[in-house]
Subunit: 205 residues, 2 copies
């Protein structure tokens, strides 16, 4: 029966710390309800001009300050290692394209790739948008590193990421992580308890 | 020992649905750790010009739409009755001044007053900023209704609310609810699990 249920969709931008925290929890939650997780990167930076928003650390100074503190506290609360990246926020178009490439060619590697890259960025400031880093990490996971790195500059994957970002905007996504369970939308790692409650309710009906 | 611990500070604007949800949970959480709750109303509208923000339902349309849905879903998740108010958002200066008056003259009534007014607003669109409503509700709780209503237009309480709002801004508050535990700041009803975790950690040390 598990295979008949649609996956939980996890829309995210790699530079979002709350997405890192949620990415490491969402599979365990989904699994309890016979679901897998579809990792769907998009570019949050494309949403900001529409929403009139900006990265948290570039907003009103007290909000920026609070956010930096909350990232660190939420990591401890989530039991995850964390260090504010040296290069934060960063561009994420290459690793997003590589993720779409892996989703097509080595889907079983995607969760480890997405979670591992976020952990590398949010613990050791790894240059996860660098095609060389991307290729090496994909190879480490047993995927085709050269092909994964090549996808970063491939017009086909540029278009696919553009389409995925447009799909995010079209469905009303304005933040990251953005979790969709059978058409129900949840914004933020702090909605994970509601995601779990929702999956539980669906199970009962 | 309980009386020696500082209260948990609950800074809020009466027109905030997430504050309503949190107001009905925070005392139960605080009580487990020998704490009371200090209800401290302020005017979130005074922060928006500084932070460049606005009420959620007046922001980017997908965010406004999501927020309305999330209010309703979060109410169900919290087990609280809820109906989107006819007059939302609303001005809250009178009920905030009345709350400060009660804090000085009938502090034992404040939690029931604050929680009851929010429930009345968020379930039946009660005109909780109307001095007549405020006086009647204060009287119903056994406080001096006429004096509480009179505080709404009293320059002394105008000044006290202004000072409390300035104190909120000075401490970096940019949203509601805003919870302070021994100097540690938490924004949002979705940080209640972290508030509880923090109280627990303090207990251990």
């Amino acid at each position: 029966m598990a295979s008949s249920k649609p996956p939980v969709e996890f829309w995210f931008d790699y530079t979002s710390p709350y997405s890192y925290f949620a990415a490491w929890k969402i599979e365990g939650i989904a699994m309890q309800y016979g679901r897998t997780v579809a990792f769907k990167p998009f570019l949050l930076g494309a949403v900001f001009p529409l929403s009139g928003s900006a990265p948290l650390v570039q907003q009103y100074e007290p909000k920026a300050r609070y956010s930096k503190h909350d990232f660190e506290r939420s990591a401890r609360f989530s039991g995850l290692p964390y260090r504010y990246p040296d290069n934060f926020p960063m561009l994420t178009q290459n690793i997003a394209r590589a993720t779409i490439y892996l989703t097509e060619h080595a889907p079983g590697k995607v969760p480890a790739f997405a979670k591992g890259a976020m952990r590398a960025y949010f613990t050791e400031s790894a240059p996860i948008n660098d095609p060389a880093w991307i290729g090496a990490f994909a190879a480490e996971l047993g995927a085709d590193g050269a092909a994964t790195a090549a996808a970063c500059a491939d017009p086909a994957y540029k278009d696919k990421l553009k389409a995925q970002t447009e799909a995010a905007i079209a469905q009303g996504t304005f933040g990251s992580p953005w979790i969709v369970v059978d058409g129900e939308h949840f914004w933020g790692h702090d909605r994970l308890p509601q995601v779990e409650w929702w999956l539980h309710e669906l199970e009962d009906h």
